[in-house]
Amino acid sequence: MSETVKLTIDGREIEVPKGTNILEAAKKLGDEISHFCYHPGLSIAASCRQCLVEISGNPKLQPSCQMTVTEGMKVSTANERVITARRQMLEFTLVNHPVDCPICDKAGECLLQRHYFDWDRKSSRVDMDKVHKPKKVDLGPTIVLDAERCILCSRCIRACDEVAGVHQLEFVNRGDHSELTTAPGQLLDNPYSVNTVDVCPVGALTAKDFRFAMRAWELYTTPSVCNGCATGCNVEVHHAAGQTHRLVPRPNPDVNKYWMCDEGRLTYKAAQTNRLAGATIDGLPASPEKAIAAAAARLQPLLDSERGAIGVVFSATHSNEDNWVLGRLAHEFLGLQRAYIAARAPVPERADKILRDADVNPNLKGARAVAGAFGQSGQGDLVALAADLRSGKLRGLIVLGDVVLPDDVVDAAARLSALVLVTTHQGALERAAHVALPAAAWPEMHGTITNRDGRVQRMRAAYEPAGKALPAWELLAKLARKLGATMEYPYPRAIFKEMVEKVAAFAGAEWGKEAQLVQLRFANSRG
């Protein structure tokens, strides 16, 4: 018995795995059948009836999301009967829909707009007052509901039930007074609540963080990876004019399917606030070139006399490439021996079986792999670094990343002969440093990070770094050249190629294709 089924859709034959529904089969042919309640990551409701198609042999039209393919099936998705059915469903859906497009968040990425424009474009035959429902319902800490816009597809209810695992939303009342509301005694406060905004085909559910913040058609999208925790959910960075406005999940069946957690969505804020935009020497602004020269000058006497007392700190929040170049500089060229890995403390309450991980570092595994490739298997962590600083074992430190240390440790670090920081954010350690170099944050650079399963995933730069910042690897390579090493990388892919050959854990990883800058309204990826 074969595992595939052959069927004909609109006269074109296709072979699909057994158990596929007709809608997915048509998608493989490039035909998008209009639908509202169907979502590939959720259970089937077949309630909206927008996806009706004609199956020969069947007198009534059938919902293509629910019907699984059978051998020899003949399906018509665009004949007159089907298109009339589509139009009629849209007419019903639009009868009570408020004329909200100019003020609705979803405008530009709304499925209702898209389907009406593609399939209907006819005027309404109903000329009566529309049913009114509450328009600004606070459903919980993250979501605002506009009940009039809701088309009752139930995607959000299923998303809460199936993704978050809690029942927090349901429909009440009947007929055209049906309304979405929270389950009795509940708020919409699960940690995956904003996924309901992604699945909502219209602008009924809006995220408080993005409500009225930006128009969707002005956003550009760049594929990247969330830097919130070790899960590494694939995201799309939605940005305009050098600022990120939101993160949305990008489908990846192996990592995050179609979802991401609410905290991860907000990580873009951290990448944009309190940034170190220019280099500093002893706390005063300087040009990056001068700062690198000053750093080299500070390190040189230590390298001549007390090389063993210089420490290097890898970062579990920076990309593999940044760590690799640091490793080459520190171990290959300078021969430093004391290595630490700076990682944020784990948050065990976060860990659930859904997506969130207790390890809130995006690249701990990667940093460990890179440091290990240089023979630094006994790396200490921040606790060990604090101890060494307090005890005075260190005379110099090269730090990658935004490291947070207790105040007395920062004071001890300030007393070092050479404290060189390559960091993205301002902070106590940065103010104490002799030289601080501004690094690019994760939405601004091309690089890879390794998630908790050892999967190496590619981040892409959405826009140029803020101020005078450069990718950390570039700053470290410049520092290396100033110290006399030969280190030249014309572009980040060169580092990746070199790294993959030397680090066993990254074998088989791929850099991936470059992505053209896509304006959201032309991406057709949402709505």
Partner: protein, 426 residues
């Protein structure tokens, strides 16, 4: 170049007999370098120069009054039209096209609209009245283009009166076009599928009357300047090009026609309803500046003829195609129903979606064949938009035309190339 007869050689008193000095005559010999050191001088003309319309820099190497070498450097008005178009919807590109050949903006509008319609394959569905209106405004724009070209060139050659007369006529036409489109120059009147709005009531009668006056102005200017000895001396045999040279160098429009090639897109590949129009295509024989001047002069009269025929043949009707994916719905539906709102919204925000494919569409602009090469990717904006600017190819040869000519020949050559910086540099 004709070889003029040898001028008489005056001998100045006190000057030794073997030294001959001849001043200021065409074809005169340069100063004898017997004992007097000379070297060619590199002079910079532009980019800001009263005799150049538009911003163009020329670095010319002169030997006395003769130009030995000329390097034309463009780029001062490059405004990234093609790059910007990749980020704008097709309707948003219309204001950009206005600013290409900015003295005949409607020709650009129409050319671009035809290109998008060819890509959408709706050329046959455009309503008749819309096509006639497009022809009328195209031809009026062509007249303004030629009036500007001839007027400005005449001024630079010293005939300031012609400039004033022609600009007066041009201003009348701009006023009429302003009544239709809302702006003197930056019309953006044409849309994919038709035009924005119908002609105002009474406009046709007004313009009929106006065209009679414009014709009178053209005749007056023609009589005044075309036979003028000084004018002909400065324009004839300046920058002549043969048929083969003109074709090889990619010339089109009045410049190509002045060289004897009767290529006019309106006749050879008719678009809109030019095949229903009766008009002549003037053709020169020497390809020099004078021929280009006269070709334009005659073309203006032909354009007036075309407009009059359009007025006679037009009938009432729609002015934009009846397709919900292309034309905006009426405003009362937009504001009062969700259906109209969504329709309007999607057309504006997503743009008019053009199926993937590449098309090259061309029309007769004021300067020649104005082509648009559109690479569409299925979305509402072009993947690539290339504009084939007619004066780009004519300007290329300006350097060759002024080589071994006098500095004063630069003026007619540049004038008759009708270098419109907006179009040339996009």
């Amino acid at each position: 170049m004709q070889e003029p007869s040898k001028p008489p050689v005056p001998v100045l008193p006190g000057v030794p007999a073997q030294r001959t000095v001849v001043l200021g005559q065409r074809g005169a010999q340069d100063l004898d370098s017997d004992g007097l050191p000379t070297e060619p001088m590199k002079i910079n003309m532009g980019p800001s120069h009263p005799a150049m319309h538009g911003t163009v820099r020329m670095v010319i190497t002169v030997d006395g009054e003769r130009i030995r070498d000329a390097d034309i450097q463009l780029g001062y008005m490059h405004r990234c039209f093609e790059k910007e178009s990749e980020y704008a919807t097709y309707t948003q590109i219309f204001p950009y096209t206005d600013r290409l050949n900015y003295v005949s903006p409607l020709c650009n509008n129409v050319g671009f609209a035809l290109a998008v319609e060819k890509a959408l394959d709706i050329t046959r569905k455009i309503p008749e009245r819309a096509q006639y209106i497009r022809m009328i405004v195209s031809e009026l724009s062509r007249i303004t283009d030629h009036l500007t070209c001839l007027g400005a060139s005449s001024m630079e050659l010293g005939a300031f009166t012609i400039f004033l007369w022609m600009l007066k006529a041009r201003e009348w036409l701009f006023t009429d076009l302003e009544e239709v489109t809302g702006a003197r120059l930056t019309h953006s009147y044409v849309r994919v599928g038709g035009v924005v709005a119908d002609l105002p009531t009474g406009w046709i009668e007004k313009v009929r009357d106006r065209l009679t006056r414009v014709e009178a102005v053209i005749d007056e200017c023609d009589q005044t300047i075309s036979g003028l000895r000084i004018f002909r001396d400065r324009m004839e045999n300046v920058g002549p090009f043969t048929r083969e040279q003109a074709i090889a160098w990619g010339w089109t429009g009045p410049a190509l026609r002045s060289a004897g090639v009767d290529y006019d897109v309106r006749k050879d590949a008719p678009y809109l309803f030019y095949d229903r129009m009766e008009f002549d295509v003037p053709v020169g024989d020497r390809g020099d500046c004078y021929d280009r001047f006269m070709v334009r002069m005659i073309e203006m009269r032909q354009s007036i003829k075309i407009v009059r025929q359009c007025f006679d043949q037009m009938k009432p009707g729609d002015v934009i195609v009846d397709d919900g994916r292309i034309a905006l719905p009426p405003k009362n539906e937009v504001y009062n129903s969700i259906e109209g709102m969504i329709n309007h919204f999607k057309i504006i925000m997503d743009g008019i979606r053009v199926p993937p494919g590449e098309t090259y569409s061309y029309s007769e602009g004021g300067n020649g064949e104005l082509g648009f090469f559109i690479v569409a990717d299925g979305s509402g904006r072009p993947y690539k938009l290339h504009c084939r600017a007619p004066c780009f190819y004519v300007l290329q040869t300006a350097g060759a035309q002024i080589k071994n000519a006098l500095i004063s020949d630069i003026v007619p050559v540049f004038g008759m190339a009708n270098y419109i910086a907006g179009e040339c540099e996009r």
